[in-house]
Amino acid sequence: MTIGRGGEGEAGAVLAPPDSLTPPSAALVARGLTKRFGDSVAVHDFTLAVPAGAIYGLIGPNGAGKTTSMRMLATLLEPSGGEAWVRGVPISGDVREVRRQLGWMPDFFGVYPELRVAEYLDFYAACHGVPLERRAAVANDLLDLVDLGHKRDAYVEGLSRGMQQRLGLARALVHDPAVLLLDEPASGLDPRARRELREVVRELGRLGKAVLISSHILAELTDLCTHVAIVDGGRVLVDGPIDVVSRRLRGGRSVRVQSLGQGERLRDVLAVQPGVSGARLEASPRPSLGDETPEYRDEVLTAEEGPSTVTFVLDGDDRALRDLLATLVGAGLPIFGFDLQVGGLEDVFLDVTRRLGEGDGSAAHGPSETSAISGARAPEQPGAGTLGASGSAGGVQ
């Protein structure tokens, strides 16, 4: 899957970022990062690139090595091997410059109980060298961004957990970093606070920040991330744009079509289209009231009468999707919904780990033409498209 596997990222090697790993928009590049604690390997050959504007989800179970990787990228932990670059600056080199470019939000919230919210931001802005005359404006803007403007004079300690998390995000932004590392930012938040945090992160992506966000709660990232890297046993199992990853794992793109009636015909038409596989007619939606009455049973809409949903996997690009839709409409099918299923990350993650568990490394790494890293590195490396060939399948812990 990666360049540098199987030795190039070994301990002590300080390598210049190869061109293939540094597309112009890649704000954060990690190559072969490794961390050993005594005999145990916490992170092995961690390689990915986060383009500017991307929200890159780092997902994996507890103990997968997400936080250790984040701490290495944040210059808090010395890697045992490999290298990373933040906007071209190596983390083993000018650490202060790297820190100027990085905003880090850990999975905990450090509190100075004696400080008020505005003072808290002012303090970290000062630590980051923001000029005195700009600090008040920066604090106000950030408090507005995270919707804490009304709490600027409150003591930090008195804020709710959700507010503290949002303040932590504002803290990570005081110096306007190009790269954001968010380690489990939504842990312990209620659904409303999680949603608010997601909105802020999405906005940051729109502002062109490269965001690397970790979580073991996959649902948190499903609607948020543009890219995803699945980590387990201290290594990146698969990474790339989220739909590409999903497509690779499922042998294509998951599509859902909804029609008003003629569900079975829809399924049959789809089944014979080129590139389509696994066409399946879902059960029709049932009315929400009265569904247990005998009268209702008589009125259950069949797939030929009521709204029907067919899901399938399409092995093709956007043009193939467009052509398929035209074919369906042309066939006179009453289509009212046609959408790509990004797919629950949970399914993707379970797919990857299950296939690795079954020894099917190739499942995780098919061709990756649009992946920021993989697209560049996969073709040149013998066997780079498979975990097994890159020597990592056996190392999954």
Partner: protein, 312 residues
């Protein structure tokens, strides 16, 4: 030179950590309470001695001069004791407290250098401690009014107090950076302080008691170590220098010996006949200053090292 000084001063004042810590320490009643608790025993001792002096003068038992010295010695030693109690307490949480509050990593990912972090932390904590010494100066200076103590002695006592404060403050900081919890840092800081302040006087006391048996009626360590000092003048100088160094590590003994040499009007470097040999001595407070500046540099350096990017 001016540019460098301006840069250093500017850097110190611009240290956001020092500014935050000072603001936090001054916020709330804590500083006021500490200053009060610090001045109260000093005031009580001072008033008691003043009353004693007044009574003595009436009874014509002692002249004012020794009472002034007694006042000065008592207040200085009490202050020294209080500083030794407070300095570790003020600094033993500086780094471990950040660790416990989970704010250390947040500091370490800022572009602040580890030196700036250490200096910022120290400036704030030591600033509070030095404030105590400064506000107690008038009580110490009463001794000058009582007589027998000059400004020179007051200045030396002030210097010893300041250096003791900074050194044991740095000891607290050192342990705070090396241990995970404030509790263990505080324990070791107090143990180190006790060792530095009380071990040598206690050892000498033990030697004095044992000396009754070992050396007869007087403490003759030199005679015990060297059979015939007249044969080895270098050995005598080395032993005396080691003895001076030992005294220079200890604030109470340095205060005592400094008081003696200042009363005798000794210069910074002077010679004395010891065991038939002419031996060179350095003013005790000068040796103390050198030793403690070295210790401060060592502890600050090791603290900064502990804040390096973690390998574990």
């Amino acid at each position: 030179m001016n540019a460098t000084r301006h840069h250093l001063l500017g850097g110190l004042l611009a240290n956001p950590l020092a500014a935050k810590e000072l603001r936090s320490r001054m916020r709330g009643p804590r500083t006021f309470a500490v200053v009060t608790c610090y001045l109260l025993p000093l005031g009580i001792v001072s008033v008691a001695l003043y009353m004693l002096a007044a009574e003595s003068a009436t009874a014509n038992v002692v002249s004012g001069t020794p009472v002034g010295k007694l006042h000065f010695a008592a207040v200085s030693m009490l202050e020294l004791g209080l500083i030794c109690l407070l300095a570790p307490a003020f600094t033993a949480d500086l780094v471990s407290g950040e660790r416990e509050r989970q704010t250390l990593d947040l500091l370490l990912v800022t572009p602040l250098t580890r030196w700036q972090i250490v200096v910022g932390k120290l400036v704030a904590a030591l600033g509070s401690l030095l404030l105590l010494i400064v506000v107690a100066l008038p009580i110490q200076a009463i001794a000058i009014l009582l007589g027998g103590v000059g400004p020179e002695e007051l200045a030396v006592a002030f210097l010893i107090l300041v250096l003791t404060t900074v050194t044991y403050g740095c000891v607290g900081l050192y342990w705070s950076a090396h241990l995970r919890t404030t509790r263990s840092a505080l324990l070791l800081a107090y143990a180190t302080t006790l060792l530095g302040v009380a071990a040598l006087p206690f050892g000498i006391l033990v030697l004095l008691i044992l000396g009754q048996g070992l050396f007869g009626s007087r403490l003759d360590v030199l005679g015990w170590l060297i059979d015939d000092p007249s044969d080895s003048p270098l050995a005598v100088q080395v032993l005396v220098t080691l003895g001076q160094l030992a005294v220079a590590t200890n604030p109470p003994l340095t205060s005592l010996f400094s008081a003696v040499t200042l009363t005798q009007g000794k210069p910074l470097l002077f010679s004395e006949r010891v065991a038939g040999q002419t031996v060179t001595f350095v003013a005790p407070w000068l040796a103390f200053t050198a030793v403690h500046l070295l210790a401060i540099a060592f502890f600050v350096w090791r603290t900064a090292c502990a804040l390096r990017r973690s390998a574990r």
